[in-house]
């Protein structure tokens, strides 16, 4: 693969010894959109800012396009990195009109061509008519696109986006997201996005790194991290899931709702994750089924239904389509449709951040 950005072992503490980012390593490929996904305070923005050069890592390396930016006794200033950055609050220069905001980064372009080039980018973003407006006079979505235009105009190889859609309202967010994705792909640019919105990461990125408490827990395509979460955290952070402790014997395990197939062989006590939409419920067959559950609650959501089912003193969630209709109090049989995912248990207890040195 054609690696553009490689970080290895990035570590940062603002208030030692508590590490905000701990041993973060990942690679972004050329023409790829990569997302760092995690809850607020997980260190994803700090990671992004270390790559941009706004923060200095305590340890670790950043390499862009075979050029080392950060290493032992090496720190390339942000202005010498050639990395574009789109800020959460856009950080448009309030004293400059839109066109001058975009021209600001074109200082290596001959003076005469700057305006032309800036206008070109503005047109691409559909902002041609706003060239002389002041940033105050733009809507949130327009400001967002100006910020993107400003970052894209100097044609950096990599562009970093810090929660770029979080200041937009829900409707605008979806359309802007699609537009930006198309633009980035058309321009052949690589992008690294930071977000806490799992849906955004899943739909926007080619690959995702899920972060928690300063560490990366899993890297993979949206399908991989969603369908085959490696840890309990990833399983729960990306949508709802059922976590089940069970006794595994080889390729299967025995659970409250019977024997389920596992995604990989395991033995002994394991924690399994199975998504609610990978379960279904049906009328019990008196002769065959021993795994009876009871419907406790039903939430009708239009095109699907979420049931809460109690089986043997535990509860699980089941998503079904709206043709499967039961009521609270009904006796049902829960049936897995897919394999369950065996989660990695931390074999050694993770040293809590406070005691880590």
């Amino acid at each position: 693969m054609n690696t553009l950005l490689q970080t290895s072992g990035l570590t940062k503490a603002f208030d030692p010894p508590e590490n905000v980012v701990e041993d973060v390593s990942f690679a972004v490929n050329r023409h790829e959109i990569f997302a760092l996904l995690g809850p607020s305070g997980c260190g994803k923005t700090t990671t992004l800012r270390m790559i941009a050069g706004f923060e200095k890592p305590d340890r670790g390396e950043v390499v862009l396009n075979d050029r080392k930016l950060v290493g032992k006794k090496l720190f390339v200033e942000p202005e010498d990195r050639g990395i574009g950055f789109v800020f959460q609050d856009y950080a448009l220069f309030p004293h400059l009109p839109v066109i001058r905001n975009v021209m600001f980064g074109l200082k290596n372009v001959p003076r005469k061509e700057r305006e032309e080039r800036a206008l070109e980018v503005l047109c691409m973003m559909g902002l041609r008519d706003f060239r002389d407006r002041s940033p105050f006079e733009l809507s949130g979505g327009q400001q967002q696109r100006v910020a993107l235009a400003r970052a894209v105009a100097p044609t950096p190889e990599l562009i970093l986006l810090d929660e770029p859609f979080s200041n937009l309202d829900a409707v605008l967010r979806h359309s802007t997201r699609d537009e930006v994705r198309t633009l980035l792909k058309k321009a052949g640019m690589s992008a690294l996005l930071v977000t806490h919105d799992q849906e955004e990461a899943l739909s926007f990125a080619d690959r995702i790194a899920v972060m928690n408490e300063g560490r990366i827990e899993q890297i993979g395509t949206p399908e991989e991290v969603y369908y085959r979460p490696r840890t309990r955290f990833v399983a729960q952070f990306l949508g709802t899931t059922n976590l089940i402790t069970a006794e595994a014997i080889g390729a299967t395990a025995l659970t409250e709702f019977g024997r389920v197939n596992l995604d990989r062989p395991a033995n002994g006590r394991v924690t399994l994750s199975i998504r609610p939409e990978h379960l279904t419920i049906e009328k019990p067959d008196r002769n065959r089924d021993n795994y009876l559950g009871e419907v406790i609650a039903k939430a009708f959501k239009g095109h699907d239904i979420t049931y809460r089912i109690r089986i043997k003193a535990r509860e699980c969630l089941v998503h079904t389509d709206n043709r499967i209709n039961f009521h609270a109090g009904d006796r049902v049989n829960v049936k897995p449709l897919e394999t369950a995912v065996v989660l990695e248990e931390p074999t050694v207890p993770i040293p809590s951040a406070k005691t880590a040195v």
Partner: protein, 529 residues
Amino acid sequence: MITKLIRIFRVENLPRWYFLLPAVLVGLSVLIPLSYLIVRALEADTDLSMELVFRYRNLTLLYNTLLLAFSTLVIGTIIALPMAWITTRTDIPGRKLLTLLGVLPLAIPGYVMAYALLGFSGANGTLAMLFGIELPRLSGFSGALTAISLYTFPYLYLNFRSALAGIDPSLEEASLSLGYRPREVFFRVILPQLRPAYYAGALIIFLYVLGDFGAVSLMRFETFSYAIYLQYAASYDRIYAAWLALMLLALTSTALVVEYKLLRGLFFHRIGSGSEKKLKMVRLGHWKWPAYIFVTILVLFSIVLPSSTIIFWMVEAFDVSQLAGLRRALTGSAMASAPAALLATALAIPLAYNSVRHPSRLTRGLERIAYLGYATPPLAFALALIFFTLNAVPVLYQTLALLIVAYALHFLAEAIGPVRSSLYQASPRLEEAARSLGYGRLKAFFFTTFPVMRNGLIVSAAFVFMSAMKELPITFLLAPVGYETLAVNVWSYTAEAMFAQAAPYALVILLFSTLFVGLLFAKEWTGRR
């Protein structure tokens, strides 16, 4: 201890050297001259030193200074508290105008007020000439107290006003619902909450009285500042002057420490986040008439009397020949004040930048250095600069450059506020955006943050300029021989009872200080919206 130090000096938290250096320079240029006071004071042998320190006169000076300071505080409180209450918590018609009237006396500096009081009373005062009424001429303690109180009470007024307006109305409602009468609520709930504001305002007044030279000298009331001047200018006793300046510095430091101790732990926030309610206004009814009478008397003394006295003397004896002198003094004041305003603003930028962008104990401490020059009594500071230049850099002695630097260091504190709040408006992301677009640290600052701060910088420069235009004691000691400024001329003519000659200079100062108050008021007003 060591880990604490390491934490304070963590390399990463440190601002860049070019932002750090100005802060250090400011600190050194205040502290090094002050150390020359000690050098000069210790030139006396031990016996003489003991004699100078334990003179009975020092006790008299201390008594006079403290008496004046506390009396000013009492009078100021008696004026400012009711005034603040009337303009924030009652339904009195014309509250905006009344507020302006409460601030406007700031436009009449203490020595101009002293000029007006002297030119108004006595055998050849305005009153005697117009109506044949001869009031005994105010002088000494009562004269100094009147002049200073009428000039300084707005500092307390402003503090009381914002504190009263900021009190959570729910507290009052809660006390009422617990069975307290409105009067009890005022004394047991509202007054205690005004304490931080009161201490802050009181400190400003205290420092002002300690530093005041113009009013006490014209009224011939011997405080430390006046005595320093007498020793230096009249008796040429530099060593005793240095000792007096050191005692004054000790008094100032004591005031600062006491204020710090009093304020510790005294921060009253709104607790809980319930929606902010509008303050309930007291319906005054017929009680508004006594309120109006109170304000009218105040305005008569604090604004009408001084301005009409100045205008009377202008009309009485104005002569075109005075214009040349006026122009000379105006140019003199402006030539020193304008560069000082630019210098102070330029120094304020790195100081404020350090503490806003790299907040740490170190940078906050450095920012406080700006207040060092402000809190140091101006006469003591000027004297220190004289000793310093004479001993260390004689080229600077008696130069305009030294005066400019002294102004800048003294008024730096006024420049910091607006610079700092404009910095808060410029998001640090702007500079980061510029850097990600290929601009170095300094360029990023000058192309993005600096233009955004522009208005704040203009306000800062204007504050310093207008303050320097009316500054007296520093100018008095540091201006080159024969250098005329507005303030010095008002003082010299008044000191010789030449009220007509002083009038045009006083009028111009009045105009400038009215602009200053206008700016302050405009800022207050927009800030509250």
